[in-house]
Symmetry: C2
Subunit: 146 residues, 2 copies
Amino acid sequence: MNPAFLNEAINQAKISLGQGGIPIGAVITYKGKIIGKGHNQRIQKGSVILHGEMDAFENAGREYAPVFKDCELYTTLSPCHMCTGTILLYGIKKVYIGENQTFKGAEELLASHGVEFEVLNNEECISLMKKFIEEKPNLWNEDIGN
Amino acid sequence: MNPAFLNEAINQAKISLGQGGIPIGAVITYKGKIIGKGHNQRIQKGSVILHGEMDAFENAGREYAPVFKDCELYTTLSPCHMCTGTILLYGIKKVYIGENQTFKGAEELLASHGVEFEVLNNEECISLMKKFIEEKPNLWNEDIGN
């Protein structure tokens, strides 16, 4: 676990929050370097698919698609089924999860496919989401398909 | 199964092919009407996440996010883990799959979550993909994370 990469994921979450968006961010790393970073774009782009992780994949782009299986992913929040499915599609080998207390995604699906993951219980990730869910429950429910 | 909806998914696949793209298309329907349609955008938009199904979700947009759980999805090809994860996230209730002979996606994952699906073995879907995979195997492998 490289704290600088988690910090950049948190930074992405804060950028989103500052834009009036959902505070979830992610980065993808390859050989110790960030190759893609992003954040939830539901508000900013009116997107129903650009969760933080998806935005990071999209920003990494086709250039890196052939090496995604040698990449690691840092996300501020436990990945939902969509993001987990994308992790499986591209064979990401390790996932660092900022927290899974405010939302527990499809971690069992990751595990059943042999994807290593580590839940970091990061206090900043938790407080960002707690505050957001409290303030905008409808938006949050929309984002997780409730 | 409404053949007009499958035909529109096939039409989307052909539009993509005509643009030099990957011939996979999808539509999402709500109360007997198409609310989102799309096709693979890997070539057209340089996207690593816009599979046909994802593009259809994105084109349906936030307006319909709250009712995705009452929607059906038609896709020309068996959905991969990413697209299956998105189907699970939004609780799509039924999926019509044009074919699963050239690629079998995460159908077991759909089944394990109680999502109904029907594989149609449509000849046009099969021949579109067979020809494409034969002509552009590298592009196809990139699209499915191989």
